[in-house]
């Protein structure tokens, strides 16, 4: 392990020279953790996530991470993460599909407990019949909890979102967990090019006293003597306290947006803004959409792409602006319910232009050809198909 010098987040994330590596998504998670000055990582096996936490375990063995253990199961892992973060540590963990749902009670309580942490979510089918493939319906379970949810398209996003995730999560005006979701296998087990700053640098350590809610470490004057547990005084106090606390959680969630602009270049990426037909997609579906947009452009078709990087906070204004002249909006997704299509429809005035799909589920590949078909349909183009399917 090289000696790592602490550098400012702005330098590490935005300015430091980068070198190109050909690595898997799992490796990209680990490379981000390596540079994030992480105190503790807690692992529990589930495919396809396990490889990421194996690699983080190697980082612990090498000394990049100070403590690491294999937990009893996900609820225990996510609870222990909450304990470690309350104790002032910077923590990382990751899970997939059924593991995410098993840990969900703990995870959705993190925002209310004001737990700044980064959680990697490598998507996997959650409902029966069981499968290990990368359906991403589980992301919809994360959208109403106050968590910041970023959705990575490829290995580069995994690296950038994870490293920036630690910085954003610990901002005083955010102080919330950041989920970095990406599709299992398609990203985690596939290799892609990732531009990374040198591994001899790391983020400054977490400063748990720079916080809206202090750590529980007996090292600060008590904010109040907890003689009076007000939540229990009456139902009215209970309503009120929960309400104001959650209002603040969601305000904090919206405040993450400015940091997403600063560190990740904004919550959306728009390709060919003057197009007539737009593909709106997040995660892997954005990669498929990007490919389709390129083919369409080669054929001279007026097609654009809106990649949504941040699902929470959702870029309402940005999506509305990008689609203001759109005649049709195609929303390719890796799940059966179409959670992204619903989000998109909810923020534009003319939701009738949104085409629900194409969707694949069960973790199936989303062939670019399916998106092309929707593009041709939207533009009234007829194509003859010869392929045997």
């Amino acid at each position: 392990m090289p000696d790592q010098r602490v550098v400012e987040p702005e330098y590490l994330l935005l300015e430091a020279p980068r070198e190109k590596k050909f690595i898997t998504g799992s490796q990209a998670f680990a490379e981000a953790v390596k540079r994030a000055n992480v105190d503790i990582a807690i692992a529990y096996p589930i495919t396809p996530q396990s490889e990421t936490m194996h690699l983080v375990g190697d980082l612990y063995a090498q000394g990049y991470v100070k403590d690491y253990y294999r937990a009893e199961e996900e609820y225990g892992a996510m609870s222990a993460i909450a304990g470690a973060v309350r104790g002032g540590a910077r923590a990382f963990t990751a899970t997939s599909g059924p593991g995410l749902l098993r840990g969900l009670e703990a995870i959705v309580s993190w925002p209310g407990h004001r737990i700044p942490v980064v959680l990697g979510v490598m998507t996997r089918v959650v409902n029966a019949p069981l499968s290990i493939q990368p359906d991403n319906i589980e992301i919809s379970y994360l959208l109403n909890a106050g968590l910041v949810v970023l959705h990575a398209e490829n290995q580069q996003d995994v690296f950038d979102f994870t490293l920036a995730g630690f910085v954003i999560s610990e901002k005083v005006d955010v102080y919330l967990p950041v989920v970095v979701a990406t599709e299992g296998f398609f990203v985690t087990h596939a290799k892609g090019y990732v531009q990374m700053p040198s591994e001899d640098m790391k983020l400054p350590p977490r400063d748990p006293y720079k916080a809206p809610v202090p750590p529980t470490d007996c090292e600060i004057p008590p904010a109040r003597i907890q003689r009076d547990a007000p939540v229990q005084k009456s139902n009215f106090m209970s309503y009120l306290i929960h309400a104001v606390w959650q209002q603040e959680v969601w305000s904090a969630n919206r405040r993450a947006m400015k940091w997403i602009y600063k560190y990740l270049g904004g919550p959306v990426e728009v390709v060919n803004p003057d197009a007539e037909v737009f593909i709106v997609a997040s995660g892997c579906a954005a990669a498929q959409g990007r490919e389709a947009q390129r083919y369409a452009e080669q054929e001279g078709l007026p097609v654009g792409l809106v990649k949504v990087k941040s699902l929470r906070p959702f870029p309402e204004k940005e999506v509305r602006e990008a689609l203001k002249n759109a005649k049709a909006v195609i929303v390719p997704e890796h799940n059966i319910v179409g959670w992204l299509a619903k989000e998109v429809k909810s923020v534009i005035p003319n939701s009738g232009i949104v085409i629900d799909g194409p969707r694949v589920y069960g973790g199936m590949t989303l062939p670019v050809e399916l998106i092309m078909e929707e593009i041709y349909k939207a533009l009234g183009i007829k194509k003859e198909k010869k392929t045997v399917v």
Binding site: F22, I23, T24, S26, Q27, T47, P48, E51, I132, N154, E183, F185, F186, V187, H189, A190, K191, G192, Y193, C284, A287, Q288, R290, E291, R294, Y295, Q298, M364, T365, L366, P367, V368, E369, K386, T387, V388, V389
Partner: protein, 229 residues
């Protein structure tokens, strides 16, 4: 833009996933682009295994299994004769003007399928890759190398030095993330060859042989014929 979307079908134990990594790493070594998706299920000896590789001179965005390939590589005759593939028939989804590379010492494509492939204007090249591996490397485990050599022999996408670098990375580098099964197989190969260096040299010989085979048979793609999507 040159783009090959490759579907490799073989059976467990043939090094299908390993060769996908080598194809990708060789492209990377040549400064070009590749993405790969090994199919991860429970891999068992002689059960169907598929891997997918996309190679191009331009960045590649899309991910996932190649449903509509323009190159199909068949590592074992049973893929065709016993239906050991995830999709039936083995050429499902093949695009027009595609390439099919088959490891077989006999013509195993049924006539009715030949007719469909002709309509799609597919080029079919067959070599006895297992026999070549046995003759040159002394092990069937180099079958995948024969197929890699054939692919690069036809497409000429990368030079020998790039393939060699890819092999080096795969067998001697520390960056490859292997499944338990692959690691066990590696150690079996190692025992057979004693030294990894020797293994690498044998593999290179197989690759050189099938590359030359492509040249001698006049299978090398001319520039304008190259598959473009």
């Amino acid at each position: 833009m040159k783009r090959y979307n490759i579907r490799i079908a073989g059976v467990g134990g043939q090094g299908v996933v390993t060769s996908a990594h080598i194809l990708g790493n060789a492209m990377s070594a040549a400064g070009k682009y590749a993405t790969l998706v090994p199919f991860f299920g429970s891999e068992k000896r002689m059960a169907p295994v598929e891997a997918y590789v996309r190679v191009s001179d331009q960045p590649i965005y899309e991910v996932g299994e190649v449903v509509y390939p323009n190159v199909i590589m068949i590592y074992h005759p049973q893929v065709i004769t016993h239906g050991k593939s995830y999709t039936m028939p083995f050429y499902t989804g093949l695009k027009e003007n595609g390439l099919i590379l088959i490891n077989s010492d006999a013509d195993i494509i049924p006539d009715e399928d030949k007719k469909v492939l002709e309509d799609l204007n597919a080029r079919i090249y067959m070599i006895p890759a297992t026999q070549i591996a046995r003759d040159i490397a002394g092990t069937e485990l180099a079958t995948n190398m024969a197929m890699v050599g054939l692919f690069f022999g036809i497409t000429r996408l990368v030079g020998l030095e790039h393939i060699e670098k890819a092999l080096y990375e795969r067998f001697l580098g520390g960056t490859f993330v292997a499944s338990g099964g692959t690691t066990a197989l590696d150690s079996a190969i190692e025992k057979k060859f004693k030294k990894k260096q020797e293994l690498l040299a044998k593999n290179m010989e197989v690759i050189k042989y099938t590359m030359k085979l492509a040249e001698e048979n006049g299978w090398v793609e001319e520039e304008e014929k190259k598959v473009a999507t």
